[in-house]
């Protein structure tokens, strides 16, 4: 007998299964219908949740920038995204001349799907998850590949120079940051000995942020870059390339690119707390497994808050700086972290405490050494192209009249 606080989803599923068998449905069909229902549920929930996320992020960004954020529609402006959604739903679709129709229309769909797919393998509690895939992490990397494809399709399909340029730039950014991300993901895989996401959570008696702080840092930075938001939002640098790959989109198609972006930001927080903060692990999860879900939500929102803070407080990179950061700092750092973990983790695996302390310290040492080396090797070169001149000097007459 499953109790409600163990796994409510399973309880409902069992009840539905009994109901369907009672209608005289064969077992296979009932199973398939259940799979279908479960998948539909898991697909709809993030999309609806995204409405809340948009409000939350706008409100928080407003507070960071000393504004109110949305505050007109409903208490604390909570119905603002619904109003926006209604508006964007009934806007006209404008398809530009000479657009390649199939790639053009497929792109927003694929960009949402590539983010949604990640939710299939994330464990929400000990037993609540879409599917416990034994190769979950490589699956997640594959989903990133689909996201790239969506951007290429959008850039190519809309027959616009700026869209194409923005798309190519976005792809160059995303593929570059995928290298250190994959390398930093190798560290949890090494420590847990599995590619399955739930297995990784189950092996995390000590959260991996302690065993692999540098890998966690790299994963955080690179996955923010993968989601394409500030400070890595060169994809949509308005001042340089009109609006990036989504220049020619309108109405809901445009909206879905943003749904994908907001959802991606939340999904990376979810992944970070799953892979490095212990996921659903916490006290008393053995007795009350549903508590694991609460822990995961709390951890995820803490990380999500950081992601928004990141966005609100840092200025945008220039594209060459961004590439330098990736290839000349993050990639060597991730490789070095991989080497250190490979050298230390296995010989010390008999002594968990010593292993944790040693890995933590050595990781930090590597970070400090590499950072100071980078600081020395790569001084912030500034090319002076013109004499600086004061921009808004109040001239004499203004001062006099004032």
């Amino acid at each position: 007998m499953t109790l409600w606080y163990e796994d409510p989803i399973k309880l409902i599923a069992n009840w539905l299964f009994g109901l369907m068998l009672g209608w005289g449905m064969p077992v296979d069909t009932a199973n398939f219908v259940l799979t279908l229902l479960g998948a539909a549920f898991l697909g709809v929930v993030p999309l609806l949740f995204c409405i809340f996320l948009i409000w939350y992020e706008r409100k928080l960004l407003g507070r960071i920038q000393d504004r109110f954020g949305p505050n007109r529609v409903g208490p604390w402006g909570i119905f603002q995204p619904f109003a926006d959604m209604l508006k964007i739903f009934i806007k006209e679709f404008i398809t530009p001349q000479g657009a390649d129709v199939v790639p053009y229309n497929l792109a927003p769909i694929l960009s949402v799907a590539s983010v949604l797919l990640i939710w299939a393998v994330v464990p929400f509690s000990m037993t609540m998850m879409g599917v416990n895939l034994n190769v979950g992490l490589s699956f997640i990397i594959g989903c990133g590949g689909l996201g790239l494809l969506a951007i290429i399709l959008a850039g190519y399909g809309s027959n616009n120079k700026y869209a194409l340029l923005g798309g190519m730039r976005a792809v160059a950014q995303l593929i570059s940051y995928e290298v250190p991300m994959v390398m930093s993901l190798l560290v949890p895989v090494m420590l847990s000995g599995s590619l399955g996401v739930n297995d990784i959570v189950q092996k995390q008696t000590v959260p991996y942020i302690i065993l692999a702080p540098v890998a966690a840092l790299i994963f955080f930075i690179t996955s923010v870059a993968e989601s394409g938001r500030a400070p890595f939002d060169l994809v949509e640098a308005e001042s340089e390339i009109v609006a990036g790959f989504n220049t020619e989109y309108s109405g809901l198609k445009f909206g879905f690119f943003f749904v994908a972006e907001f959802l991606h930001a939340f999904t990376i927080s979810l992944l970070f707390s799953t892979l490095f903060l212990g996921g659903w692990r916490g006290p008393f999860t053995d007795q009350v497994p549903l508590l694991g879900f609460v822990y995961l939500v709390v951890k995820t929102f803490i990380v999500y808050f950081l992601v928004i803070l990141f966005r609100g407080s840092l200025p945008r990179f220039r594209i060459d700086q961004m590439m330098d950061l990736n290839w000349k700092l993050l990639t060597p750092l991730s490789l070095v972290t991989l080497l250190i973990t490979a050298l230390l983790a296995n010989p010390l695996s008999g002594m968990p405490l010593l292993q944790a302390v040693a890995l933590f310290l050595v990781n930090l040492a590597a970070l400090v050494v590499l950072m100071s080396w980078a600081e020395r090797k790569m001084p912030r070169k500034r090319k002076i192209v013109a004499k600086t001149r004061p921009l808004a000097t109040p001239n004499q007459q203004d001062q006099l009249s004032a």
Binding site: P103, L133, N134, V135, S138, F139, I141, G142, G144, G145, L146, L148, L149, I152, L153, Y156, M168, V171, I175, E178, G193, L195
Partner: protein, 171 residues
């Protein structure tokens, strides 16, 4: 006919259709996009073979990397190959005949082979053993030499490609 068989036929039909368009499309960019569909569908074929690791890697490598490399190459060489001229060699009927001949030969050869109708045995419930694959890759009596050589091969390819593809200095 079971559900799995129907799924396989569907996936196989999609793959072959996409592959045929890849080799016959006049627009090289469309050929590249159809190639991506074909490669993605091959990943689904891998999934029906319960080779989940390679299904995921197929998407990550082929769709996420090789296809993008091809698309970039198409864009870089855009001016040379307008989509208006003939895209096929003058000898394409001969190519068609040869490929059809190879296909017939392969099918005849395969159907005369004894193990043609083998049914698969069930995998253990944990799925394919990735750890065993990893162990074999670095085992002295296993595949350690190909493992290291593969890495050297890739680095050699990297070195060569950077040398060949970077802009000439004088420009």
């Amino acid at each position: 006919m079971s559900g799995l068989q129907i799924a396989f036929l569907l996936i196989g039909a999609i793959t072959l259709f996409a592959a045929v368009i890849t080799v016959s499309s006049r627009k090289i960019m469309h050929a590249a996009l159809w190639l991506i569909l074909a490669l993605g569908a091959v990943a689904a074929v891998f999934a029906t073979l319960e080779a989940g690791f390679f299904a995921a890697i197929q998407i990550a490598i082929y769709v996420g990397a090789i296809a993008i490399l091809i698309i970039f190459a198409v864009m870089l060489t855009r001016r040379a190959m307008e989509d208006s001229g003939p895209q096929l060699n003058s000898t394409w009927p001969a190519a068609l005949v040869i490929s059809a001949g190879v296909l017939t030969g392969l099918v005849i050869l395969l159907s005369s082979w004894g193990g043609f109708e083998t049914r698969s045995m069930a995998l253990p419930p944990t799925g394919e053993n990735i750890a065993a694959l990893g162990t074999a890759l670095v085992d002295m009596n296993g595949y350690v030499v190909p493992f290291e050589v593969a890495s050297l091969l890739l680095i050699a390819a990297l070195v060569g490609a950077i040398f060949v593809a970077s802009e000439p200095k004088g420009k």
